[in-house]
Symmetry: C2
Subunit: 364 residues, 2 copies
Amino acid sequence: MFRIDRKDKKTKARTGILETAHGEVKTPVFLPVATKGTVKTLDFSDLESLGVQGVIVNAFHLWLKGLDSVKNAGGLHDFMRWNGPIFTDSGGFQIIRKDFDFKISREGFVLKSPVDGKKVTYSPEVCMEVHSALGSDVAFVLDDCPPYGSPTERLKESVDRTTDWARRCKAMKCKEQEVYAITQGGIDAELRKRSGQELSEIGFDGYGIGGLSIGEPRDEMISILEISVSSLSEDKPKHMMGVGSPAEVLESIANGVDIFDSAFPTRNARHGTFYTQKGKFDIKKSGFAEVKDPLGSGCECFACKNYSTSYIHHLFKEKEMLAYRLLSIHNLKMVLDLFSRVRMAIRDDTFPVFAEDYLSEFSA
Amino acid sequence: MFRIDRKDKKTKARTGILETAHGEVKTPVFLPVATKGTVKTLDFSDLESLGVQGVIVNAFHLWLKGLDSVKNAGGLHDFMRWNGPIFTDSGGFQIIRKDFDFKISREGFVLKSPVDGKKVTYSPEVCMEVHSALGSDVAFVLDDCPPYGSPTERLKESVDRTTDWARRCKAMKCKEQEVYAITQGGIDAELRKRSGQELSEIGFDGYGIGGLSIGEPRDEMISILEISVSSLSEDKPKHMMGVGSPAEVLESIANGVDIFDSAFPTRNARHGTFYTQKGKFDIKKSGFAEVKDPLGSGCECFACKNYSTSYIHHLFKEKEMLAYRLLSIHNLKMVLDLFSRVRMAIRDDTFPVFAEDYLSEFSA
């Protein structure tokens, strides 16, 4: 259930409440990525301290390794020990992107399991069975997400297939689980429009915008995003898949997106990149060796409240895992703070000015 | 300052209070190893939750990388954000053991720095300057610790040199820092006796027992330990270097040892080994995939209070860092619990029975 509670006057930005079987989520919201059932380097209490509202797990990745343990635990919430909302992505994007040895047909994906080399079929029906076994709050349909630059014929095929698969997924929807469709169509305006309309006609609890931020120029992303959002029911939540950088986030929110997920804050942390309101920095730089200040001035995260930049620089140089954890906590805090400020700005009718100020400081 | 407050009637075990500039330590005590200024995978709040009383850092390893950051922070306590007692080991053991490209002479160790390839000298005087810059509570003198199996001539040389270096270290002792000497002599009873006597005559705040548990048979370790402890002032704390397995710990405590440090609980955790009262186990074993119980029955650690063995098995198989952290927390809790039960048993005059029962259950 999604309820819009405030709309920005100048843009399509809005705040809302998403009700799930595991609690309410205030939108716009950012979901940290917990691909294999854990947000990398963090535990549930870190997520709670950070004020994380929900996480997104990858159904396909867990299915590959076998679901016995999760089933035995009674679902993902008990398995991961995370009682908040869990979204489960279908994995359509990951299968194509990660170069699994796959074939795609009407039936679904047929691929060689990287676990035991056996041929396995991941169909819309299997995907929904996995979501159901995982017991997530929001499940994404299986989609066909061709790489950026695919010819129109391939994009058209992906729209047709994604609509067909979405219909089959909806037929298997289980109680208490919301199902979100995913629009495709690459950067072809007409196909995007058709994809959104077809999925809206079937009718889903929410809509993911897939196949964007996969290499296309930024202005094309924005114009296609606009078309996609307009083609979908206004009163349903929109989820921008795999987007987390401040510029893209703010632009997407201005275009009516409510939900985001991205591995970028935690993946970059593990590579030594950290974010402050002034932009992004490399913790490995020798200049940080003697900085006694925390990573972010005024930041209230566990890393900043307790440790100097100098110490985290030292830990990173020594490849100490604590460095990855502290930087992950900090980067997530930065992103979550951005979202909480966005929600406040929309409520205060200051979103456009806020977004402009934020970006001009961030990219200065 | 060390004060013995209870002696076991049947063994040499005792409880005591070690006063340091950063608080009191109840002995027998176990110090987790924080070689490069962090207990691997853990943060200070993990240590606090575990009830860790103090940690041991390696002066030599930090010195190799340059001390500017630590000096700039005003010492290790502020750098690491750990306000409890810090012991700093000299690194004599590590230099020889880790096959640094070194030469040893009266002056000290001359070695090629693994950081920049330059020739550097690590003398007793440099070592004490490092300890002082680090601002630790207890500093170990530089010792010469030949490998197990070294000829008597080499062991004799190491005893002479260790006494000479200890004297030079004591001359550089700074206020508020306790200095512990380290006995050597391999498994040669006469040399061990002489080493202890010479160091006791110089007089130190405490004594490390070095050069044991480096490959010698267990009964030789015990008999040499007995000789070493007897040769040292009874009222001073004894520190058994690098020992952490329950059997060796209990045997050493029965012989009058007060302080222990070992990387074993955390290093083994990172390799997937965890401990319970019933012994050691390999988390990778497929049998753990569906165990909903925590790692240790009745264990009160963060891992056991919150996560199933099944989930930690999954995390470990996926090489998720959280697995290493949870197993490290659990293994440390097991060791720290052993120590707190030992202290209670000594106070209750039940230590020998406790030790026997513990080991028979552990190795069953």
